[in-house]
């Protein structure tokens, strides 16, 4: 009778890992194929193994993903002990030990880093807000909405979509206005509405930021596939 319970737990584990994003690519580590395996024993000991596209992927982002995976899994009901292991990376040992000891980035990389990664994460969240702005605005423009009209639009007036939900979530994470009455077009650094003259530039920047993130994500996927023959846990064929 243990098999069905185990399967259910593993499903919960995967669902938790789906909430962990690559901060740079703004995508779940599951759909990116970064989850090599995830298991949980009958006693509730969870083990997650992560993999990245290269041996030299930036250690700061790698640290955030391992730490976030640890946080997402360790709070699950029924999980007793959590082990997250980053495989095949030049800084695997430092990152794995640092996260297991809850040491933080600076202490883990003693002498090589001077501050934690909050600013880095916020910077990339702002990029995600810009990219998300393009995802939300592009269909509106294609449907005939005048660019100038976007300026007056609030989030509540935009038809519901996955992209809109995601944009709201990213804005909320940054502490930016995300409610129905908030302006659709805002400066992601300050939260202030975009001025009328800068709408074309704002939309152009949003599009460019989205292209940059998506192209980067395409390269990462290609390299991961070159490195590992098998898809990641929770990665669909379409995700590869």
């Amino acid at each position: 009778m243990t098999a069905p319970a185990l399967a259910a737990s593993q499903e919960r584990l995967l669902a938790a890992l789906e909430t962990v994003r690559d901060p740079e690519l703004d995508e779940p580590i599951t759909s990116l194929g970064f989850v090599a395996s995830c298991t949980v024993s009958a006693d509730g000991d969870a083990e997650v193994r992560l993999r990245l596209p290269t041996y030299f992927c930036a250690p700061n982002f790698a640290y955030l993903m391992v730490a976030d995976a640890y946080d997402a899994v360790s709070v699950l009901p029924g999980v007793r002990d959590t082990l997250v292991v980053l495989e095949d990376h030049f800084a695997s040992d430092v990152i794995n030990d640092g996260v297991a000891a809850q040491a933080g980035f600076v202490r883990s990389f003693d002498g090589e880093a001077v501050s934690e990664l909050h600013d880095l994460r916020a910077n990339f969240l702002r990029k995600a807000v810009m990219a998300g702005t393009d995802q939300v605005c592009r269909p509106l423009l294609a449907a005939g909405t005048d660019p100038a009209a976007l300026l007056a639009m609030t989030l509540g007036e935009v038809p519901p979509s996955r992209a809109l939900t995601r944009l709201r979530e990213r804005r909320a994470e940054l502490g930016l206005p995300a409610g129905d009455s908030a302006s659709l077009l805002i400066d992601p650094a300050t939260g202030a509405p975009v001025s009328p003259g800068s709408v074309p530039l704002h939309l152009r920047k949003a599009q460019l930021t989205r292209t940059s993130i998506e192209a980067n994500s395409g390269i990462c996927r290609g390299m991961l596939r070159h490195r590992y023959a098998t898809p990641g846990q929770g990665q669909s064929e379409e995700d590869q």
């Binding site: 740079e24 596209p53 290269t54 041996y55 030299f56 992927c57 930036a58 250690p59 700061n60 640290y63 030049f90 800084a91 980035f105 600076v106 990389f109 090589e112 880093a113 001077v114 501050s115 934690e116 990664l117 600013d119 880095l120 910077n123 990029k127 810009m130 294609a142 003259g197 800068s198 074309p200 530039l201 152009r204 920047k205 599009q207 460019l208 930021t209 292209t211 940059s212 993130i213 998506e214 192209a215 980067n216 395409g218 390269i219 290609g222 390299m223 596939r225 070159h226 490195r227």
Partner: protein
């Protein structure tokens, strides 16, 4: 020279390498880094067409003959520019040093330009070495890695006073072109190693130097474009853009090219194969054959015509390096400057 549909293209490969990353060159105790580094490069090769993939053994150490065949005989390249990478912490004789490149280049007069490099944290000794390299190898360009770790320092900014001292010295020695690799550091950084804001400052303060941002700041094309559109002496080095996207992700290749044409313009984009990561042959053929897709999502991007392709493949870099281009390979006198970069400026200025 590449010929297609009656058009002749002068080809300058402005970013390529001649490395030895085989086990005989690995520093004892640093083998895992030396191995990991070259395997990481090898994975990039995986983004090119399958028939151009090499075995890891060949990739670690290709011969002089291989290079001459791949780049000049098969790859259509007229002049190739070596960009050195030292990495002496991992590779006994360095990965591909100025000296290794230049000594090979000397055997083939007129085919190569050997760039050198510097690290502003190397103080006076580094300045002397720069002077020696320029005098010995006639370098007109340098390749810089701002995120490189050096003696306890976790990277530097090209806007630092120490870097300005080097840029001044380099300019006095006759260096014209500064190729900057904005990329991942091998050491942890608590900030973004790809930040290009320092280039914004030094490009303004050194108007007679050209700054070629290799890999167009990938994966931060947006930061690069916002900066480049405002600086007349900042160029987009296309290595990795063509090699990494044209075959593997054609849709994103078109989008990235569209953005670069819009923000930077065809007059300030330069081809680089990044050989031995990718062979130039398929990249040159692919770029010449490439057209912006005729679909709605690409509608507001500038188009790239034959003249633009000629500029990108060779004529722009030939100008930067004073390379003599045969008359028949020049643009017709009627050809003007590309307008696309100006469009980008207009929007940025709005």
């Amino acid at each position: 020279m590449y010929e297609s549909n009656g058009e002749k293209y002068f080809v300058v490969d402005s970013h390529m390498h001649y490395w030895n990353a085989a086990p005989d060159n690995w520093v004892p105790g640093a083998e895992q880094y030396a191995k990991g580094w070259i395997e990481c490069f090898h994975a990039y090769q995986g983004l090119g067409p399958p028939e151009t993939h090499w075995s890891i053994e060949h990739f670690q150490k290709y011969s002089e003959d291989d290079l001459m065949k791949d780049v000049f005989e098969d790859g259509y390249v007229d002049v190739a520019i070596f960009q050195p990478t030292n990495l002496k912490e991992w590779y006994k004789e360095g990965f591909n040093t100025t000296e290794r490149n230049a000594l090979m280049g000397e055997k083939h007069p007129g085919k190569f330009i050997a760039n050198t490099n510097f690290d502003p944290r190397d103080s006076d000794a580094g300045l002397e070495e720069l002077k020696r390299n320029v005098e010995r190898f006639g370098s007109k360009g340098v390749k810089l890695y701002t995120a490189e770790w050096n003696n306890g320092s976790r990277g530097y900014k090209l806007s630092d006073p120490g870097a300005y001292r080097y840029l001044e010295a380099a300019q006095n020695l006759g260096i014209k072109n500064v190729h900057v690799h904005k990329g991942p550091t091998i050491w942890p950084l608590d900030k973004d190693a790809f930040d290009v804001s320092d280039i914004d400052h030094c490009a303004t303060d050194f108007p007679d130097l050209n700054f070629i941002i290799e890999h167009v700041g990938l994966p931060r094309i947006e930061d690069f474009c916002f900066m480049a559109t405002q600086e007349p002496n900042v160029y987009a080095g296309l290595s990795v853009v063509i090699g990494g996207l044209l075959h593997a992700r054609p849709n994103f290749f078109a989008k990235v090219m569209g953005e670069l044409l819009f923000w930077v313009g065809e007059d300030k984009m330069t081809f680089g194969s990044d050989y031995g990561i990718w062979e130039p042959k398929w990249q040159v053929e692919g770029l010449v054959a490439w057209e912006m897709p005729d679909r709605e999502e690409f509608a507001d991007f500038p188009r790239l015509g034959v003249e633009g392709k000629k500029k990108i493949l060779g004529l722009n870099a030939a100008k930067l390096y004073d390379i003599k281009v045969p008359d028949e390979l020049q643009l017709p006198a009627s050809a003007g400057a590309g307008e696309q970069g100006v469009l980008g400026e207009a929007v940025a200025g709005a």
